[in-house]
Symmetry: C2
């Protein structure tokens, strides 16, 4: 019996896709950047089926590419072009297993779409705070594999901090039941944290217990004009000092970003009569007291203007206006796509050094591609910038494409010098795997390689992602 | 040259202790429960010295027992009695390396005492929230090795969630520089989290970057009489709903605890005229607005009384009264010591199931040691109970001591049945290592053993702690 037949016997013939047209959405990433092929796309319906599928793949020595909503920005879930991989799509496993409003936890299948988990929490009067652009398509399993971030990390943390327990199937098909709903458990090594952020290279996450929070009933949102990134950092300190944990989002964008949004997004409207050098979207939330929250935000911003940290600020008068502010922020990615090819970087540096980093990066960009325009925005409170660079208007697409590798190398060398990360929240995937030797120490790569070999001795799981292939030959430590 | 001479050459003769009287505080745990001996106690003064010491121990094949403030409640830092171990005391490494009030981070040597880190943060107008009984003696390295919890976990998380970066010396003496001050970094496996909570069995933590928070300038503290644990859980939900992230502590204690404190702690005074069945200490904090905070707490508690979740409540009128409330909570451990030998358990279960657990545990205790008195207190919001059991008044110390192993087994079997943890915050150490096979799955033990072998192939680091010795022979997976 062939592996495909065996897999069909486990999940049913209808859930093993071998035809090219059926496979297409599973083997091409959504940016259209990576196109692969697969022996089969397998869609198990339960954890037990995942165990059986992985045991069969283990016996056959087959490569396995775990996949959730397939929304990775770094090709993390797309197979290579060899046509040998089994793509394991978790999307049929989409049950909310349990909501516990007393313990403030939700237990879900890994294939649940993030927005559905948010909605299930809301219906129970709770908040699941992870929030990001792809929330309508990405799945919890993918969020875990990539340790997703998004716009609420400042207050609630990344996916790692939002997770209590995991259920994972190992490469040999054995089940690790770590699905515990405990806030505290100091009884051994942090297996959970090893799987979170491992990008499907150590096994397949099939379920998770996640934290819930009280649903905030009050929000206050402001759009603030700031003269510089330094001033924005000063504003961040001031808002934090005055508003504490109420601060939920602090999103920075430069005039170049706003200008792009105005030009490319039909319904975008800026709140200021003149374009500021940069702007920040500030959002506070609280259990209750919307009026008091608005006053607190307004008072803080008045003082920030007085201190020269801001030039102008508009506090949203209603939900419609707040959504319009968010549209300015969220429209940037879309506007960037329409504005043409950009070199993209998802970097983090220590918060206090962001302004110095941006200044140095600008010089490096100008040297690598004269006239190229940095489009800088991101989650300032997390030290995370989406550092994009648009083609110089005078340069051809080809000339810019030729300059991008050097430009990216220069930006990332700077990130390493600032003790930052070349992947703050998007993951390494295929996109950055070649850069790992430049940004990790040899010891870190050795440890990662040894851990990989421990869980997946044949390196069959999601090959070509996260771990540079050269590591594969490394023996365990010593 | 002997190992001791070699070590003296690295750290200086004065920092290698070989005389029994000098070694005494390093080889006897502070509860006086574990008494060991050592080849030498070595006190390095820098990370470089730690590297050299561990390289020398590696060449000599010597056992190494890393040690911080030596305040473990589970014998986690005490060597065995063989006299062969090198105890590596980090307490000379006590520099605050850097405070960054913009990035809200503090970088410290692992040997810094927790209270000193709290104080350094305070002086910079910031809060380092970890807070626990031993804070005047325990060190950051020990807090990391044990993933310390304490009274502020509800709001700020355990040590794991308070840590950004680590500096670790591996068993072979190589340095892993993971000392990054990044809020987001998705570029590889979570080495940091593997070391946190590993109880010195994978290497030696020498430095850390920790998170700081805005210092709360307003506090409100109340002592609340509740009829049952169920009611306390209802009160927890209500306070959370109404006060959100302002809720900093929610400490539960039964009448037996309060009665012990009144009898054994000289300055303890309860706020109620009649002893309630149980009580909760609730603390809120906020950036500012103490009056509003007090009113919010009072309003919530009035409604809680109305809903039958509380019978009476006193909101502290000033800092003195708040400290008196805390004295009631913090006096319990001391009162327990004075009341005689108790069987101690540091357990966690899912928050919503705490009441059911306590009921079942009470029955198991009564069966194992009729007349024994459960002394139950803990961090209710974390699902963490310090489940102590006092000797029955009618039983001799010997008879009770004989009954304790069965009693503990019964309590812990129940914990496992509730999918809880037999060590919520104290760590496994020597105290619970024999119980690991009963509370972890064979697969978990296999993975832990394989991880241990990967980092420490000869199992030389902190032997006899955390990992049951039987695992030592296990090969890596497959």
């Amino acid at each position: 019996m062939s592996l495909v037949e065996e897999l069909a016997g486990i999940v049913g013939t209808g859930h093993v896709l071998t035809a090219a047209d059926e496979q297409q959405p599973y083997v091409t990433d959504w940016l259209g950047k990576y196109r692969g092929s697969a022996l089969a796309v397998v869609r198990p319906g339960s954890t037990q089926e995942v165990c059986a599928v992985l045991a069969a793949c283990d016996r056959a020595g087959a490569v396995v590419v775990p996949q959730g909503g397939h929304t990775s920005l770094s090709g993390g879930g797309t197979p290579d072009g060899s046509g040998k991989a089994v793509v394991l799509s978790l999307t049929r496993m989409n049950r909310i297993r349990e909501i516990d409003p007393v313990g403030n936890t939700i237990t879900v299948d890994a294939g649940c779409v993030l927005a559905r988990v948010q909605e299930a929490a809301r219906q129970a009067g709770r908040l699941f705070p992870l929030s990001l652009g792809a929330e309508g398509s990405c799945t919890i399993g993918g969020n875990l594999a990539a340790n997703a971030g998004g716009v609420a990390v400042l207050r609630y943390g990344t996916m790692r901090e939002l997770t209590l327990g995991l259920e994972v199937v190992l490469p040999d098909g054995r089940l690790w039941d770590g699905l515990k709903a405990l806030r505290k458990d100091n009884s051994g090594y942090a297996l959970r944290d090893l799987f979170i952020g491992s990008e499907g290279t150590l096994g397949v996450i099939t379920g998770a217990v996640l934290k819930l929070f009280p649903e905030p009933r009050a929000k206050a949102t402001a759009f603030v004009a700031v003269p510089t990134l330094e001033a924005a950092l000063g504003l961040l300190s001031m808002v934090r000092e005055r508003c504490g944990d109420r601060l939920t989002a602090f999103e920075f964008m430069t005039d170049v970003c706003l200008d792009l949004v105005m030009r490319h997004i039909a319904d975008a409207r800026g709140p200021f009569s003149t374009m500021p050098a940069a702007a920040v979207l500030v959002e506070l939330s609280d259990t209750d007291g919307e009026a008091a929250l608005g006053e607190r935000l307004e008072g803080t911003l008045v003082d920030a203007v007085g201190a020269g940290l801001a030039q102008d600020a508009v506090v949203a008068q209603d939900g419609t206006q707040a959504r319009a502010f968010w549209r300015l922020r969220e429209g940037i990615s879309e506007a960037l796509v329409r504005a043409g090819k950009a070199a993209k970087h998802d970097i983090s540096v220590p918060v206090a050094q962001m302004a110095a980093f941006v200044r140095e990066a600008e010089a490096a960009v100008e040297e690598s591609a004269p006239g190229a325009r940095p489009v800088v925005f991101g989650h300032l409170g997390d030290g995370n910038l989406h550092y994009n660079v648009l083609r110089p208007e005078a340069a051809s697409e080809e000339a810019f494409a030729a300059a991008v590798p050097t430009l990216t190398r220069r930006v990332h060398e700077l990130v390493v010098r600032y003790r930052g990360s070349i992947s703050a929240e998007h993951g390494i995937g295929q996109l950055r795997v070649g850069e790992m030797p430049g940004c990790k120490t040899p010891l870190e790569l050795e440890l990662m390689g040894a851990l990989k070999t421990l869980f997946d001795p044949q390196w069959r799981f999601n090959p070509g992602k996260l771990l540079p292939p050269g590591l594969a030959v490394r023996p365990p430590l010593q």
